[in-house]
Amino acid sequence: MNAIEVHNVSKMYRLGSVSTGTISHDLNRWWHKLRGKEDPYSQIAESNARESKGSSEYVWSLRDINFSVNQGEILGIIGRNGAGKSTLLKILSRVTGPTTGNIKMRGRVASLLEVGTGFHPELTGRENVFLNGAILGMTKNEIKRKFDEIVDFSGVERYIDTPVKRYSSGMYVRLAFGVAAHLEPEILIIDEVLAVGDAEFQKKCLGKMKEVRDKEGRTVLFVSHNMAAVKSLCSKAILLERGKLAFEGSTDNAISRYLNGEADTTNRRAFKNQGLENIFLLNEISVNKEGCSPEEILSEESIIELNTNIDILDASPERYHITFHIYNEMGEALFSFSNNEKAPLKRGNNQLKVKFPAGFFQSGSYFLSFFFVQDKKVAHFIEKDIISFTVVDTERPMGVYLGKEPGSIRPRFEWVNS
């Protein structure tokens, strides 16, 4: 029996902000509806391609999605950032409605788009367990029955009557996940909540999910960037690309298709007239796997190259150098790096290349800012987020830790044991 059936689901978004123009659109739409006509803006909406600037204010974030999930199955949902995963999850968890299509779900549904939704910092752990449990759809009696188990699972017994604002972030997450893990819905929808918490705890959570799978009749939808976790948990997967269902089938095939797919086109950027008059001209910046084109996926195990094509027009190029700052998804600066005396800038065309060793970056997205510096003190030209790239994790053997190590980078230092 199908636990979930999704028919022709599409979602249209209006870009830009709400302002005076919105009223006229609303009225126009209302007028069409009154006469039984189709939404006038659905026809001009465009498919969701972030890189190209479209002409329409309306975009389809999801377009004609069809799939079904059997009872007792764990379905992985994978795809790049912006492919529509979150939108699909939001529609399935009823946070927002579809523009067209319909979905049928059999059984009680619980969704975990984040852990600890509704946690109030002033309330104690105990009070929050009840509140959070009720928000997720449990009754007071159910929570009471499982309370001891939840506290036990999260290991914060000592602090259970302390306001959660005094908790460490780890304790907070564990308690929140404890509540979530003890939900007993027939259908569970999980976003990448495993990305938080320490290693031991992640293991516990993955174990809990396996337990959920093995118990009779539970259906789970699991969205993640963590291919290793998807691979070990899901029997079936769907791949979303630009709001469309690109693949539905076995997890292995979905993952390999995802890994071999086109990388974000932002991995290469060509510039025109970008620079400072009579000083320099920036032509192109690209990020790629060693010896491959920028279209190819960057994995944790690839050697990653950053190429800068720049023309120096000034007569004394030795006065200048370039610097990059690198930021992670959270906008935190990781480090900066500059071209050094081994690769000085020269007059005319320069093709600078810097290599990051394999395994240096952990999976995630990275953003680079570009600085053109004069005499090691004046930054003449600054462009934030000039280019970005995404690193994905490769598969890991079964039984190995599947979560992310802390931090964004994992440099391999020289170890000595004498």
Binding site: Y13, R14, V18, T22, I23, D26, K90, I91, L92, S93, R94, V95, T96, G97, P98, T99, T100, G101, N102, I103, K104, M105, R106, G107, R108, V109, S111, L113, E114, T117, G118, H120, E122, L123, E127, F130, L131, A134, I135, L136, G137, T139, K140, P163, E186, G217
Partner: protein
Amino acid sequence: MDSTHITEIKPEKPLFHLGLRDVWRYRDLVMLMVRRDFVATYKQTVLGPIWFFIQPLFTTLIFTFLFAKMGKLSTDGLPPILFYLCGITFWNYFSSCLKINSTTFIMNQGVFGKVYFPRLVIPISVTISNLVKLGIQFILFLVIYMYFIIQGNTVQITGYIVYLPLNIILLGLMGLALGILFSSLTTKYRDLTYLLDFGVQLLMYATIIFPVSAFPENFKWMAKFNPIMPLIETTKLGLLGLGTFDLTSYLSSIAFTVICLLVGIISFNKTEQNFMDVV
């Protein structure tokens, strides 16, 4: 809640689907939210729940000074403090239900964006926690009431006091109804929040500062169009023995509340499905 429970998600819900059964299933959440409101509001304050008393007391003193002493406005011969405190206590119930509920979607977007539960749970719990607040403030009113009686003032309870529970229910429901009606609109057009604040302020002066008897003859009809007026007037009549009772206006207040409630719930339910895309 078994596996025969079927959830259907469609672009449009049926217009007259009020979803009250869903709300009933989440009744535990309603009560937990009420509890949260109380615990969270006064944690880490020195005076704690005493703040419940301070606000109406000071407002009363200011009104007494401004309107009764300086403006020499009529209070129907009642001690101004009692007159204003009675009005403020009950008015506050209505106005806080209205104001807080009118921002339901904006204030709760964090939770609403992450998990589904019937959104009506929030305004209902707000209305209940304000009812508890009214209960506490009513105790303050009773204390001051006793003081004035001991002082030998001629305030008397009349038979209209039997309307008091109904008045309270209607005030709460009207605040809830108008609140959720506005919340569906403020979600997209924030301008309305300012307009609403302003309107509530004006309505307050028209309702609790000037008794109907103080309205100039030409403007008495205006009082008739104020749906809260009959409720406040009946309350004053019951508790303080002065005021007017007009069955027609009272019934139209009830009708107004019921209609607003229906329209409010329908538009609220319509908004809840897609509001995340517009906030």
